[in-house]
């Protein structure tokens, strides 16, 4: 196996995979239990321990059989995936088609630690539209190391919503490579609640004029969870906007990481890049590390990022109190508001409802 990255690599300075490398993972066992599926009226693919379960899945007009790995990428986790990948969705939406929604469920369970490496491919033809809703869930100790290869052709629109609710003993590493052509868009949102250690790494290339990338995330972590959201947006053509909102709420001894790099090539004039990351530390032992990075080689650009980490704004707490709301209630209201704002980038109603319910139940457990 390709070696796991260590913290000596700049891109991995905040995420230590030693707890993962300390475990020896077996091949995934067969599963008999049926996972709990959300009540969403969309076609679906259900993977159990990384293998497609035909009985639980429905058909989808634009699905093709799993194909062997093509591009391997350069990220270490994608290289490992390339060595082991055995299954995954392979979607090709023809030009001009509105393919609606598809649900992708990954459920995992097993007695001994095991690993699986899904390799998914999503390709949208010119002017096509498609929404993928992904749910990751499971029980026990396992490692899901997924890769998505995404291609969005001219004028196409791909929405990708992920709910990562893996077992808190599990590991989830997901690497996404997206090539986005002119006038096309890739809208991404990951809500992370699960995993002991998780990392979502997205590399989005804006290849034609007016290509758009929205890479958003929210993480709600507690206990000793570690969540890492790492992105690189490469502006390789003029007039491309990119937007990012990343919110983290950290309780217990949780640690959150956001690394967001925006690269602007010399040709990419009129780039409009904006990135905001905010973290709320709810306990004295929580930690947040943020590395927003700009690398700019074009002069006529508008790029900015903002980051805040801290407890609640005392000015806001006082305002609420001066209107008669007791301090404890005032704090709760503000935390709730912070969480709800995190869902703002989700523009797809069914997904938003799903996320809101999850958020509500996380909140009631705190």
């Amino acid at each position: 196996m390709v070696a796991l990255p260590t913290r000596k690599l700049e891109a991995w300075r905040y995420t230590d995979l030693r707890p993962l490398s300390a475990i020896s993972f077996a091949a995934p066992p067969a599963v008999s239990a049926t996972p709990e599926l959300p009540d969403l009226p969309f076609p679906r693919f259900v993977f159990l321990n990384g293998a497609l379960n035909a009985a639980l899945s429905t058909g989808f007009a634009h699905a093709k059989p799993f194909a062997p790995v093509e591009g391997q990428g350069t990220q270490p986790m994608a290289l490992i995936n390339a060595d082991y990948a055995q299954d995954g969705i392979n979607i090709e939406i023809p030009a001009g088609q509105n393919a609606g929604e598809l649900l992708l469920v990954s459920a995992a369970s097993g007695a001994a630690p095991f690993a699986f490496h899904p390799r998914h491919r999503v390709k949208l033809g010119q002017g096509a539209t498609f929404t993928l809703i992904e749910l990751d869930q499971g029980e026990g100790i396992y490692w899901q190391n997924a890769v998505f290869e995404v291609e969005v052709a001219e004028g196409a629109k791909f929405q990708h919503f992920r709910l990562q609710e893996e077992s808190v003993e599990a590991f989830n590493t997901t690497t996404i490579h997206a090539d986005i052509a002119g006038d096309a868009s890739y809208e991404h949102f990951t809500l992370t609640l699960g995993s002991k250690i998780s990392r979502t790494e997205i590399e989005a290339n804006l290849l034609g004029q007016n290509a758009l990338a929205h890479l958003n995330a929210a993480q709600l972590l507690g206990g000793v969870q570690h969540g890492d959201f790492t992105t690189i947006i490469r502006h390789k053509a003029p007039n491309c906007p990119s937007r990012q909102t990343v919110k983290s709420v950290l309780a217990g001894r949780a640690r959150g990481v956001f690394q967001g790099k925006i690269e602007v090539d010399q040709i990419a004039q009129k780039t409009d890049g904006y990135q905001m990351s905010q973290a709320l530390l709810l306990s004295p032992d929580a930690e947040m590390d943020i590395k927003p990075e700009l690398q700019i080689f074009a002069d006529d650009v508008k790029c900015s990022h903002g980051a805040t980490i801290g407890a609640l704004d005392e000015e806001q707490v006082f305002y609420l109190r001066s209107r008669g709301i007791p301090e404890a209630d005032a704090r709760q209201i503000l935390i709730r508001a912070f969480l709800e704002e995190a869902l703002e980038p989700v523009t797809h109603d069914a997904s938003k409802t799903l996320f809101e319910e999850v958020l509500q139940s996380w909140w009631s457990k705190q």
Partner: protein, 481 residues
């Protein structure tokens, strides 16, 4: 831009580095290259005590085992450390008073606009002049001595105040801290030493002018400033070098120590020779600057205007240990032609209620690359810590690069960290507005750039602020059109 203005700018650009002359003076140099023997020779030349030689040799050993850092966004051909001279000094004995200073040297400093003659000196500014490796003159020593302030070259301090030097040297930047700091610790030849005793407010601004003159010489000065309880000082440094086709290495170390309620303000106008418009020559400025706010409510403030050097690699930092201590970093970094700058700061919050402010303005023009790299780290014990960071980049032309690499690490939930960064260019309508009011394009750019840097420039002491504004204009000549 019209052809005539273009021509004028070309002309201006050609003559712009006005400090590029050399001084013909008999120099004493040690053989080329670095070895334990050279380290011993430097130490012996300065009649240093045994402990300091030991310290240097340890640093040299550490350096041998280290590698040049590669993480910064800078590129240069490998430096041949064996082709450098590690010690160069005017051959005449160190002068005891200003009257004994070589007239050629005095002329050099006159040309630089730094009169060492006290009567003619800038009112209220005491100057230490460092020529290549050694301090050649320190002014106003008596006035300062009356206030109890020690301001001298570090070589003298080693002789006259060994207990102070021994106590503090390497206590902020350890000998093996990083590659260039280790090199400096092994071979540093001179630099300034400042000690402000308890309760004393230094009666005048202190300043050091650094000048590299000799060819193929590395300059490795070391500055140590200590402000005891309740003391305060404002210190300025200026740097120039001749125009030479080869690159020259400058690897300095600056250490600041502030005890309870002490305040140190350290301002730099760095105008080392940046190389020509083709990227030939210029200084490699690899500098380690760090301040320790050891005492409660102490304050260290770094202000820098970096316009020179072919390559700048420096991160003036603050270790905020004392409760309620304050760190500040105000920076303007301008790069033009083929210059490369990778600069920023580290604010390490250890004590309770510590606060830090970072304001960084990067301006890139020509084919240059300008990177802000900074770390804000809040340790678990730093309850109530605050940081505010603002980094803005301005691009002039589409051949240059502007980069921002902030690291923000917060391990205390009662701390608050805020960071903002923007990148933009000078807007056409701003330029047009200025020009329609009669300003030339060059003047308009200069005006807008000065406005962009205002938050930093206002932190400089008055005499320096004016100088810095002029320097910005000169550095950017030939950048628009």
């Amino acid at each position: 831009m019209s052809t005539t203005t273009e021509a004028t700018i070309q002309e201006l650009a050609a003559q712009k580095y006005k400090y590029g002359f050399t001084t013909d003076i008999l120099m004493e140099e040690f053989p080329k290259g670095l070895s334990a023997d050279i380290v011993r020779l430097i130490s012996a030349k300065k009649s240093e005590p045994e402990w300091l030689l030991e310290w240097r040799l340890k640093a040299y050993e550490a350096w041998l085992k280290m590698e040049e850092p590669e993480w910064a966004r800078i590129h240069h051909p490998p430096i041949d450390y064996d082709a450098l001279y590690y010690y160069a000094a005017p051959a005449k004995a160190v002068p005891k008073s200003l009257d004994e200073v070589d007239p050629e040297l005095l002329k050099t400093y006159e040309k630089l606009g730094i009169p060492l003659n006290e009567r003619a000196a800038l009112a209220g500014v005491a100057v230490d002049a460092v020529f290549d490796s050694v301090s050649v003159a320190t002014t106003f020593r008596d006035t300062l001595a009356k206030a109890g302030v020690i301001f001298c070259s570090i070589s003298e301090a080693v002789k006259e105040h060994p207990e102070l030097v021994r106590k503090y040297i390497g206590s902020v930047v350890p000998a093996g801290d990083n590659y260039f700091a280790a090199l400096n610790s092994a071979v540093f030849s001179d630099g300034s030493f400042v000690f402000i005793p308890k309760g004393v407010k230094c009666p005048m601004e202190l300043s050091t002018y650094f000048r590299i003159n000799a060819r193929n010489t590395g300059q490795f000065e070391r500055t140590l400033i200590i402000a005891e309880e309740g003391a305060s000082v404002s210190y300025l440094e200026g740097c120039t070098a001749p125009m030479r086709d080869e690159n020259q290495l400058h690897a300095a170390v600056v250490e600041l120590v502030a005890l309870d309620d002490a305040k140190i303000k350290y301002s730099t106008v760095q105008n080392w020779y940046p190389g020509d418009s083709e990227g030939k020559g210029g200084i490699y400025n690899f500098v380690t600057k760090r301040g320790a706010c050891r005492g409660k409510n102490s304050k260290i403030s770094w202000t820098q205007v970096e316009t020179g050097s072919a390559i700048t690699w420096k991160y003036p930092s603050c270790i905020l240990q004392g409760e309620g201590s304050v760190g500040e970093f105000y920076s303007v970094a301008v790069t033009n032609h083929f210059q490369q700058a990778d600069t920023g700061t580290k604010m390490i919050h250890i004590g309770k209620n510590t606060s830090s402010t970072i304001i960084s303005k990067g301006i890139s023009a020509g084919k240059s690359n300008n990177t802000y790299r900074g770390l804000v780290k809040i340790m678990p014990g730093a309850s109530g810590a605050r940081n505010f960071t603002q980094c803005d980049s301005l691009l002039i032309g589409d051949q240059c690069g502007a980069h921002t690499v902030p690291y923000i690490e917060n391990r205390n939930s009662s701390a608050k960290v805020e960071h903002e960064a923007t990148t933009s260019k000078i807007a056409e309508d701003q330029l047009f507005y200025c020009r329609s009011r009669g300003l030339s394009e060059e003047d308009a750019v200069s005006l807008i750039v000065n406005g962009f840097c205002k938050d930093v420039l206002k932190e400089l002491p008055m005499e320096f602020a004016v100088e810095a504004q002029k320097l910005l204009a000169v550095s950017l000549e030939g950048s628009v059109g």
